[in-house]
Symmetry: C2
Subunit: 460 residues, 2 copies
């Protein structure tokens, strides 16, 4: 909210005072049931103290706002909608964008990513990588993201400094990293983070049990008990590759889904990420337990993990959200792009009416909020919910003519047309300029890390 | 560089005088064999009278250029590469972007697109739709495109006015349209266009035999003979849906590929668009005849036509280029986006090393040029070829850090980072601003058409 040279504008006052009125020719509140196509014309919303207080025709709000000295702005040519919810990623890994491409998952992890992480990941790596990821997500319309990576305390600080909302699931696994030496230490450090951030309005801390092949039965059971005690979410990479299922059947005599069900991990607070491969029995277990699923189509395709048949997951009644996964395996954190890919791939299975634009947009907003257990706070524009909303400028040749707003948002490159973003009423993006992050300092940080990483690689 | 308000700068002179030197930290000439990863650092190119005259370290070119009073510019943070080649589209249909989504091909065509086209398509529709498409392609890095639509004469004028290079295949089919009443008239009008544009350096006119289900045996045979006589390309939608093959087998006793082979249509000047469904026999026919293929992954997915296994096409030795198809079925004309989708979908078949970034970039540039039979003129940066090149600015958070230029171009949203474009040495895009098209007039035209189209729909 600081347009260069106009620091005293009404809009700037709105950002700092935390109240304001914003309107646009089109508003998609996403407040109805799954896929409902409600479009409000020339509407606005009034926010105060972080929450949406009123949704009404813009002229009415502006008249009352002027009388009460509330800053008002109408964004010509824009669509207003809830900020997007990115349900899965590893923000720190943004420093590895394009570091190793065109490789299968296990090679990619074991030969490239893990050796580098073992040598170079520290608190500063996570701080700078997370800032980069947050900047990219803010510029492409995400206002809430979920994360699972080392030094989650550092990420928490970066998210709060940028004014971004996040579910941070601290990593839990059996192997040592720069952050912790064993499952016990991951858990104790993670629980300490949970205590420290318990009253932070922007953050929700949960358990990030990495994957069935990196976490023991004992640790899964421990997490299941702890998560119930503290009422926190559990996110886990689950059935991402066919090899993972084969290995589980050999070692545990059942699929990873069945194993996690036996260990008490599944349930309404469990978020299963990927679910590329599944059978009818897995589906039934997920559905009966109320476990939700995070669909990451770009990462699954790029690593050749396979296609997660999202239409089958939805038909089974599961809550499904969208995730970009990390910039190291995607390589973009633009959730509009992920939503389009989800729609295209669902149709490619043989039905062009599968996952229509409105349903896809629902998944990227309200659906994602429900997966994260935050459906009462975010995901739609409704009075009493958080003032997390974005504006997309449709006045460019790639988005014209505009017949159907949802179509334009899903099927054209809307992520690059996000001009404004508010989180809890704080304007964090204005005219595409980051308001809470120093863009140039960020680019300098990246250049430094790039040199460090290339020098390390040259020494191997 | 033309900073706003300094129209008299050297670069502007370069654009009009048709000579200049442009350099950047990274140049990808794409001059080697398929997928060769040549990266030149701090290189530049000198162009004059439409052609590339010299490629050398920028400092050398700039020193000589200064002595000879040639305008020189170095684009900090940019990658220079050949302009992209979009091998299939229907530019006029850009006015129908998002008009009817989430529908299968036949419904989409028969219930929505064809009735509207029958009622509203005229020369003005094509002129304004084509201008919109050309603007979008220029802003996302395409410098040559192929087209097949009614009123190709109007498109030809629009392309030349915008300074864009094009293969324009005039439509040939049995059904009446606003442009022609029957195959005979399509052919005579098309051949007249070919004569009129024979000496235009920007255009190559060819035959656009629409599809096996809209063109008779007699017409196909006639086109095969004519195309050989005038040495012109033939582009045809081929085996896009499974239904098309079933119908052909019922009516003609063979697959469409086999039918076109029998009719003499296939060969080095034939470009088969889509090829979603094929068997070993089709592959052999295409390969032995030297027919090339245009892969349109976004349109094929969105219309649920299926997946064209591009890896199999390449393994069979076919020349393969990329096409966006029209904005009505994609809904974006960004060829970088199409290239990424091609890479992701190829990997999703089970091999993460399939269609790596360099190979994909080759297909989007040099490969496409070869498909269009223009490999000697465009597709790579080499002395003597046309000065068709673009610059991509990597200084944004979505493209950093940069380890591998091809990865960044293919896997991040490079289409939105194209800042400059030269075609035949004429600068048509500068700092993302269109130089040969009035952006605001275009948006007004679109708004008018949108109203006209919605009013027509309301009356149905």
């Amino acid at each position: 909210m600081t347009p260069p040279g106009s620091e005293k504008s009404g809009a700037t006052q709105a950002a700092s005072s935390g109240c304001g009125v914003v309107g646009a020719p089109l508003m998609l509140p996403m407040s109805g049931a799954n896929g409902e196509a409600l479009v409000l014309r020339n509407y606005g919303l009034r926010f105060e103290a972080g929450l949406i207080r009123e949704i009404a025709p813009y002229n009415e709000l502006a008249e009352a706002g002027a009388a009460a000295d509330i800053p008002c702005e109408f964004l010509d040519g824009h669509i207003l909608l809830p900020g997007l919810v990115n349900c899965h990623g590893h923000a720190g890994m943004s420093l590895l964008r394009g570091y190793a491409d065109d490789l299968p998952l296990q090679d990619w992890l074991e030969q490239h990513i893990w050796p580098l992480e073992g040598a170079l990941v520290n608190a500063e790596f996570v701080e700078h990588g997370s800032q980069l990821a947050i900047a990219e997500m803010l510029q492409s319309g995400t206002t809430t993201f979920s994360d699972m990576y080392f030094f989650p305390d550092v990420l928490a600080d970066a998210a709060v400094a940028a004014g971004m909302r996040a579910q941070i699931t601290f990593p839990v696994l059996e192997f040592a990293s720069a952050w912790a030496n064993n499952a016990e230490e991951y858990l104790s450090k993670g629980l300490a983070l949970m205590d420290a951030q318990r009253h932070n309005e922007l953050l929700r801390i949960g358990f990030g049990t990495h994957a069935p092949y990196t976490v023991s039965d004992q640790t899964f059971q421990r997490v299941a008990v702890l998560a119930a005690e503290v009422d926190a979410p559990i996110q886990v990479h689950l059935q991402e590759t066919a090899a993972e299922i084969t290995q589980s059947k050999a070692e545990h005599g059942c699929s990873p889904v069945e194993r996690l069900q036996r260990l008490g991990v599944l349930g309404p607070r469990a978020q299963a990420v990927h679910m590329v491969h599944f059978d009818a029995s897995d589906l039934l277990i997920l559905s009966e337990s109320g476990t939700s699923v995070v669909h990451c189509p770009a990462s699954n395709a790029k690593l050749a993990s396979g296609y997660s048949n999202i239409s089958q997951l939805i038909a089974a009644g599961l809550a499904v959200g969208l995730g970009t996964d990390s910039a190291a395996s995607n390589n973009t954190l633009d959730l509009f792009d992920t939503a389009r890919l989800a729609a295209l791939l669902a149709k490619q299975q043989g039905d062009a009416s599968a996952l229509p634009a409105w349903q896809c947009l629902h998944m990227a907003t309200r659906g994602g909020a429900e997966v994260l257990g935050m459906g009462a706070q975010i995901g739609s524009l409704e009075v009493g919910k958080c003032a997390d909303f974005i504006a997309v400028d449709t006045r460019n040749v790639a988005m014209q003519p505009l017949y159907e707003p949802a179509s334009q948002l899903i099927y054209t490159a809307a992520g690059n047309a996000v001009t404004h973003s508010w989180i809890g009423g704080r304007c964090v993006l204005r005219e595409r300029r980051l308001q809470s992050i120093d863009n140039n300092a960020l680019l300098e940080q990246n250049a430094t890390w790039r040199e460090r990483i290339l020098q390390w690689r040259a020494r191997q």
